[in-house]
Amino acid sequence: MTQDLYRLIYLSRNTIPGSNENIHQEIEQILAVSRQRNAASHITGALMFNRECFAQVLEGAHDDIQETFERIQCDPRHADVVVLDFKPVQTRRFSQWSMGYIGYDSLASKEFTASGFDVKQLSGERIYDLLHAHLYAAEKAGSSLVKIA
């Protein structure tokens, strides 16, 4: 069980205070640290941020996800963590990204909020697909997202 491939999808509420710029800086830092750590523990995944919420997908060995999630849980920059999905999977879908990122000015993020969705009503599967589709599209289009992804 411990080395089996799992995927985790969770949502949490942003608690970073201050200006957009401050939030942006914090997120840059979160991404930098998580990419480094994820690469070391063979975790792949993606993070989406829409000012109020984080949505994150992690893929990797059960125990590595467990350990990463515990570290994330203790991060004071978010709260109200809701696990939408934690289950074994056959393959990785985010294998190119140690932590792909979609920011709040992106189209994907708008799909979360503009359509009037309550973020917490979104299913894990939909977040998963949305993240994957947009990261993939961004990469194809050679957008700046790729550089940070």
Partner: protein, 541 residues
């Protein structure tokens, strides 16, 4: 400290160039001298003399700090060996007790794969909890505490109990339970300050000792943070697990006078939190000590009350409304203790249920009530309350049978009163037992109706002989809401062919309203308060 200097000079640690980390530490955990390898292994700055590990690493490395605390405090012999994993390095330390004041520590780094994991060494403990100090070490830390000169800081104890942890063990297995404890320990280590001390206090209980912080702010802030943090989901064995923690606080000189009481008071506060603020925290106050002593005394007294014959039964008449004739009595237990007066069943029955004493007490009530009722005219019933706990041993039928046989009372004259609580917990088993009791000819009434779920499902699941409308509705009969409820229950009873009895009737007005709406029986002070057995003949005649 001539000895310290002697050893220090005899072993010039800073000059020892070895891959093995060496440190000479005093009894309080201050570094006397270390070699370069030790600095490297724990990533310490060069000047460590007279500093504790906690002061040196700051919040950066709580795991290592605890490891060292353990090494210093451990009740080991002359030599002991410990292992720890820090930053993917497995460190193994030999600690040699040189004398009372000094320990020499030798630390080596081994590749993780070469070294058995702590889990294998201590199958009963998980790495997370094993890296914490235990209860006796915690006590030592408190005992060694000395007030600092400024007097602005004072120690605080946070006692953290996981809620419903037993349930996790039962439903997901002990392996999951152990993992959960490990992650809990890790979360605690992540939020504490470097000079705080975390202990694995007992099975599902952890303690944090804050030594150098401004109180009560530091303790309450930490309690809130921990309560919130432990509510967040855990991932255990491929699934999501949610728990919560209740926390008790005791702060020296603010809540508690002496260091010796700090742990005890934090535990009392935890007990209070578990019962009155689950998932949150409570601070110790003196009344908790008092109520704990009272509760303990009550428990001790309850254990011998049966033997000392301190229980008696009182009987409250149940009257048929249309001719105001007494048709039965409800047996009510009364506990009168010499010197303590009358103790309310509201206080001692929940305790008796907790301690399982209710089995013996319930049996005594059934026997006594049946024996008493056998002396009454044959058209008068006896109603006896049965606790849900009495169903747990699966022999209630035998107990009822024995009480009937011993007294010679006809089963048709006995009615058991049960509450919805019984059906909520384990409906299928309870119904099975009730049906068996029914076949003996004994009837069953549903008590306190309207106060719980009042589910129609319960009413249709069993042929109850009676629904008892709770007295709180009768007392509030002046409100529209209560009147509507009473009418609805009576209508429900009549539709299902179940008799209704209203409890707590005190006025003619209440009587009239109930009679008008088709209630069949009443019980209450309007007719009579509960009376001792010897007054019954006078009431019946």
């Amino acid at each position: 400290m001539t000895t310290a200097r002697d050893i220090n000079t005899a072993m010039d640690l800073p000059a020892i160039d070895s891959s093995c980390g060496l440190a000479l530490i005093d009894h309080a955990g201050k570094m006397i001298s270390v070699n370069p390898a030790f600095l490297k292994l724990f990533a310490l700055p060069p000047d460590v003399q007279n500093k504790t590990f906690a002061e040196l690493t700051g919040a950066m490395n709580p795991v290592a700090t605890h490891f060292l605390l353990q090494a210093i405090d451990g009740e080991h012999g002359i030599v002991s060996k410990r292992t720890i994993v820090i930053d993917n390095k497995t460190l193994t330390a030999h600690i040699i007790e040189l004398n009372q004041a000094q320990r020499l520590m030798m630390v080596e780094s081994l590749p993780a794969s070469l070294f058995p994991t702590p889990e294998i060494n201590h199958p009963a403990r998980t790495p997370g909890t094993a890296s914490l100090i235990n209860r006796s070490m915690l006590s030592k830390h408190i005992a060694n505490w000395k007030p600092d000169r400024s007097g602005t800081v004072t120690p605080a104890m946070l006692m953290i109990g996981l809620d419903r942890f037993k349930r996790i063990n039962e439903t997901l297995g002990h392996d999951s339970g152990d993992q959960l404890l490990k992650f809990t320990a890790q979360r605690l280590l992540r939020v504490i300050r470097s000079d705080d001390i975390v202990a694995h206090f007992a099975g599902d209980q952890f303690a944090i000792l804050q030594i150098n912080q401004n109180q009560p702010v530091a303790a309450t802030t930490m309690a809130e943070r921990i309560a919130e943090l432990l509510k967040r989901p855990f991932l255990v064995n491929g699934q999501q697990v949610n728990i919560s923690a209740s926390i008790g606080l005791a702060i020296l000189y603010q809540d508690t006078e002496s260091t010796t009481d700090l742990i005890k008071h934090a535990e009392l506060a935890l007990y209070d939190a578990k019962h009155n603020a689950r998932g949150g925290y409570r601070r110790y106050e003196q009344s908790l000590q008092q109520s704990a002593s009272e509760q303990h005394e009550l428990e001790v007294n309850l254990r011998r009350a049966l033997f000392l014959q301190e229980f008696t039964l009182f009987y409250q008449p149940q009257v048929r409304m249309h001719d105001k004739k007494i048709v039965g009595f409800e047996a009510l237990i009364r506990w009168e203790k010499l010197g303590a007066g009358i103790i309310s069943p509201l206080r001692f029955i929940p305790l008796a249920e907790d301690t399982r004493e209710i089995h013996e007490i319930g049996q005594w009530v059934l026997q006594t009530a049946c024996r008493e009722a056998a002396t009454w005219p044959e058209n008068i019933q006896i109603a006896v309350n049965v606790s849900p706990v009495q169903f747990e041993s699966n022999n209630l039928k035998q107990i009822v049978q024995a009480a009937l046989a011993a007294s010679g009372l006809a089963p048709q004259r006995l009615e058991l009163e049960i509450t919805e609580g019984l059906l909520i917990k384990n409906m299928a088993n309870a119904l099975d037992q009730l049906k068996e009791i029914l076949t003996m000819g004994v009837s069953v009434a549903l008590d306190d109706f309207g106060t719980g779920y009042s589910s129609l499902n319960y009413l249709s699941s069993f042929p109850f002989s009676k629904i008892k409308i709770d007295q709180s509705f009768v007392h509030r009969m002046h409100t529209d809401k209560s009147r509507t409820l009473i009418k609805a229950v009576i209508a429900l009873g009549s539709a299902l062919g179940i008799k209704t009895l209203a409890e707590g009737v005190e006025t003619e007005e209440q009587f009239d309203y109930l009679a008008r709406n088709g209630c069949e029986e009443i019980q209450g002070y309007l007719i009579s308060k509960p009376v001792p057995a010897e007054q019954i003949p006078a009431l019946i005649s």
